[in-house]
C-alpha cells in the first residue's frame, strides 16, 4: 500500500533521516512522537508539500515521490484544519469539483453545517468538516495530523470512536500522527515511534507497550519505572542488579550494563510476603488519586511507582507510611540497551516552522 524507502529531507536545521515505513492496505498506522520529532514534516512530505531529492514514496505501487499533490489521491487533515475562511462548509468540502457524498455527510453528522462559514463552527465541528473534505475525494490514503490536539478531553474520545467507525465503514488506510500514546493505543493496528526525524521502533501496540526498545520509547509510552542496572544471565533468564541489595529477575537474556523498565500497572501491591520471585518490601511514600487509578510511590531502596485500580484500594486499605510488599512478574521486567539519551520534550520549532 504505502511504502517509504530511505526518505531524507532537510527543512531548516531539521531533517528527516532515512525514514523507512510500510503501511498495509486498510491498516490504521500511527506515528507517535513528542513535539519536534518531525511527524508533521513527514506527513506533509507524503502529501506532497515538499520536494524530495533523496528517497522514495510509493503508494499502491505508483511512485508518487514528486507527484503534484492533486494527483496523489491522498486525503490530508491538518492539525489546524485549514478550512478556507471565505467559503461555506459546502464549498470547502466540494472545492476540488467533487459531489457531496451522503454517506460521509451522514457518518460525520455535518448536514446541518453545510451552509455555515468556518468562523461559525466549534473546534469539533471544524475537525469533522476537515475530515469530510479529506474523505470526499475517496482517497487511497488518509493522513491525519494530530486530529485531537486542539479538542477538549471529553470530545477526544468521541473523535476516536468516529475515526474507528470511519475506518471500518469506508475501509480507508490511515496514517495518523500524534503525541498521545493513549490515542495511538486506542486506534492503531501498528505504531511507529519517531524521534529527532528518525523512526525509533515499529510494532503492534502490544509490542510497543510491553517491549519498548529504548528508554525514549519507554518514557513516551508512560513507563515511569526505568532503572539502570547490570544484567547477568542465569538459566533461561537473567538477574538485573540495580544495586547490591536489589535485583530483579527477568526472562530476557541480559549481559552487562542495561536499562530495565517495569510498567507501573504491573507493580502489584500486597500486604504479606508470599515468597515469590521479585518480591520486595517497601514503604508507601506518596498516594495520588488519578481517576480510575491510584498512583503509589513506594520506597524499596529505590522509588518505584505502582498504579492500582481504584476498586482494589478499599480492600487493601492503604495509607502513606504503611509497609507493603511488592510483586513483579519476571515477564513484566523488560530490559533495553543502555544509552544515556532520554525523552527530550524541547519545543518543536521545526514542526511550527513547517506550519507557516
Amino acid at each position: 500500500m504505502l511504502v517509504i524507502e530511505n526518505l531524507n529531507i532537510k527543512f531548516g536545521n531539521f531533517s528527516l533521516k532515512g525514514i523507512n515505513l510500510s503501511v498495509q492496505k486498510g491498516e490504521y498506522f500511527t506515528i507517535l512522537g513528542p513535539t519536534g520529532s518531525g511527524k508533521t514534516l513527514l506527513l506533509e512530505t507524503i502529501a506532497g508539500r515538499y520536494r524530495v531529492r533523496n528517497g522514495k514514496i510509493i503508494l499502491n505501487s505508483v511512485d508518487i515521490t514528486n507527484l503534484h499533490p492533486k494527483d496523489r489521491k491522498i486525503g490530508y487533515v491538518p492539525q489546524d484544519y485549514l478550512l478556507l475562511p471565505h467559503l461555506t462548509v459546502y464549498e470547502n468540502i466540494t472545492l476540488g469539483k467533487v459531489q457531496l457524498d451522503e454517506e460521509i455527510i451522514n457518518l460525520l453528522h455535518i448536514k446541518h453545517l453545510l451552509k455555515r462559514h468556518p468562523s461559525m463552527l466549534s473546534g469539533g465541528e471544524k475537525q469533522r468538516i476537515a475530515l469530510a473534505r479529506a474523505l470526499i475525494r475517496n482517497p487511497k490514503l488518509l493522513l491525519l495530523d494530530e486530529p485531537t490536539s486542539s479538542l477538549d478531553a471529553s470530545i477526544k474520545r468521541v473523535v476516536w470512536r468516529n475515526l474507528d467507525k470511519i475506518r471500518d465503514k469506508l475501509l480507508v488506510t490511515v496514517l495518523h500522527v500524534t503525541h498521545d500514546f493513549e490515542e495511538a493505543l486506542f486506534l492503531s493496528d501498528k505504531i511507529a515511534i519517531m524521534r529527532d526525524g528518525a523512526i525509533e521502533q515499529v510494532g503492534t501496540p502490544t509490542e510497543i507497550f510491553k517491549m519498548p526498545k529504548s528508554k525514549f520509547v519507554a518514557e513516551l509510552t508512560g513507563v515511569e519505572n526505568i532503572f539502570e542496572g547490570i544484567g547477568r544471565p542465569d538459566g533461561k533468564g537473567s538477574f538485573i542488579f540495580v544495586d547490591q541489595e536489589l535485583n530483579f529477575v527477568t526472562y530476557e537474556r541480559v549481559q552487562g550494563k542495561t536499562y530495565l523498565s517495569i510498567r507501573p500497572e504491573n507493580v502489584i501491591i500486597k500486604k504479606c510476603r508470599e515468597n515469590k520471585i521479585n518480591e520486595f518490601q517497601g514503604r508507601i511514600v506518596k498516594i495520588l488519586e488519578k481517576g480510575f487509578f491510584f498512583r503509589f510511590d513506594i520506597d524499596i531502596g529505590i522509588n518505584i511507582v505502582s498504579l492500582i485500580p481504584a476498586r482494589e484500594i478499599s480492600v487493601l486499605n492503604l495509607k502513606v507510611g504503611d509497609k507493603v510488599m511488592l510483586e513483579i512478574n519476571p515477564e513484566d521486567v523488560h530490559s533495553f540497551a543502555y544509552n544515556d539519551k532520554s525523552l527530550d520534550w524541547k519545543g518543536d520549532e521545526d514542526d511550527e516552522k513547517s506550519k507557516n
Binding site: 499533490p69 486525503g75 475562511p85 471565505h86 472545492l95 506550519k355
Partner: protein, 259 residues
C-alpha cells in the same frame, strides 16, 4: 507625561487647522454659480472624461502587472530579490518630474523612433498620459497586494492542491478571494494616484488643451492662462474625489483581516 501629551495635541490642532484652512480657501474662493458654469463647460467635461478613461486603462494595466509581481515577490525567494524590490520602488522614491523627464529622453531618442515606426507614440499623446499614470501608480498598487498576499499562509495553497486543485485554480479560488480586500485597497489607492498624477504626465504627454488634459493638467492650464475660476472649480472637484476615496479606503481597512 501630561505636558508631552498637551504639546502633542497642540501640534495636532495646528496641523488640522493648516489643512482645513487651505482646503476651505478653495471652496470660499468660488461661488456655486461659477462652479456650475465650469462643470458644464466643454473643456471641463473633457478633462473629467479623459481623466476617468486614462486612469481606468492605466489602473487595469497596473493591476495585471501588480498581481503578477506581488505573487512572485510574496511567494518566492530568489537571488537578487532585494534589488528587484528596490527597482520596483524607484517610481515611488523619484520625483515624478524626474521620472517623466527620463522617459521623455527615452521616448524622444532612437527607442522612441522605433516605437513610432511601429505606430506607438508616447510623447505628447493620450498614450503618454496612460503610460505616465501606469508607471507612477504600479508600485503603490503592487505594494498593497504584496502585503496581503504574504499574509496568506502557504499551507492554504497546499491544502487546495491536496484537494485536487491545479496551481492556477489555487490562485483563482484561494489566493485571489482571500486577498480581495488588499487588491481593492490597492485599486483605490492606485486610482486616486492616477487621477492626481501631474509631474510625469506633464513631462511625457505635455499639457495640450483638449488632448492630454487630465484634471491636474486642467488646473495647471487654467492658472497658466489666468482662468482662476476654471482652475479652482476643477480643484474643488478633485478635493471631493480625494475625500471620497479616503473614506472608502478607511472603510476597507476597518474590515481588513489577515488569514
Amino acid at each position: 507625561m501630561r505636558k508631552i501629551g498637551l504639546i502633542a495635541q497642540i501640534f495636532l490642532i495646528i496641523f488640522i487647522l493648516i489643512v482645513l484652512t487651505g482646503v476651505s480657501s478653495l471652496f470660499l474662493r468660488i461661488s456655486p454659480d461659477i462652479l456650475i458654469k465650469t462643470f458644464k463647460s466643454k473643456e471641463f467635461l473633457f478633462s473629467v472624461k479623459f481623466s476617468l478613461a486614462t486612469s481606468s486603462i492605466s489602473l487595469t494595466l497596473s493591476l495585471l502587472f501588480s498581481i503578477s509581481i506581488a505573487y512572485v515577490l510574496s511567494k518566492r525567494d530568489f537571488f537578487g530579490k532585494r534589488i528587484v524590490e528596490n527597482i520596483i520602488d524607484v517610481p515611488i522614491s523619484l520625483p515624478p518630474l524626474v521620472l517623466g523627464l527620463s522617459f521623455l529622453i527615452l521616448f524622444g531618442g532612437k527607442f522612441g523612433s522605433l516605437l513610432e515606426q511601429a505606430g506607438i507614440t508616447f510623447l505628447f499623446s493620450p498614450l503618454g498620459v496612460i503610460f505616465a499614470q501606469f508607471i507612477i501608480i504600479t508600485p503603490y498598487v503592487e505594494r498593497n497586494i504584496e502585503v496581503v498576499f504574504s499574509k496568506i499562509s502557504k499551507r492554504y495553497e497546499f491544502i487546495g492542491k491536496s484537494m485536487g486543485l491545479s496551481d492556477f485554480e489555487v490562485f483563482k479560488k484561494i489566493i485571489l478571494p482571500l486577498a480581495k480586500e488588499g487588491i481593492f485597497t490597492g485599486l483605490i489607492t492606485g486610482w486616486s494616484r492616477a487621477i492626481a498624477e501631474f509631474g510625469a504626465t506633464l513631462m511625457i504627454a505635455g499639457a495640450t488643451r483638449m488632448r492630454t488634459e487630465t484634471l491636474p493638467i486642467a488646473i495647471f492650464l487654467g492658472i497658466s492662462s489666468g482662468d482662476m475660476d476654471f482652475a479652482v472649480s476643477t480643484g474643488v472637484l478633485m478635493v471631493i474625489i480625494s475625500f471620497s476615496i479616503l473614506l472608502l479606503v478607511r472603510g476597507v481597512f476597518k474590515r481588513n483581516v489577515s488569514y
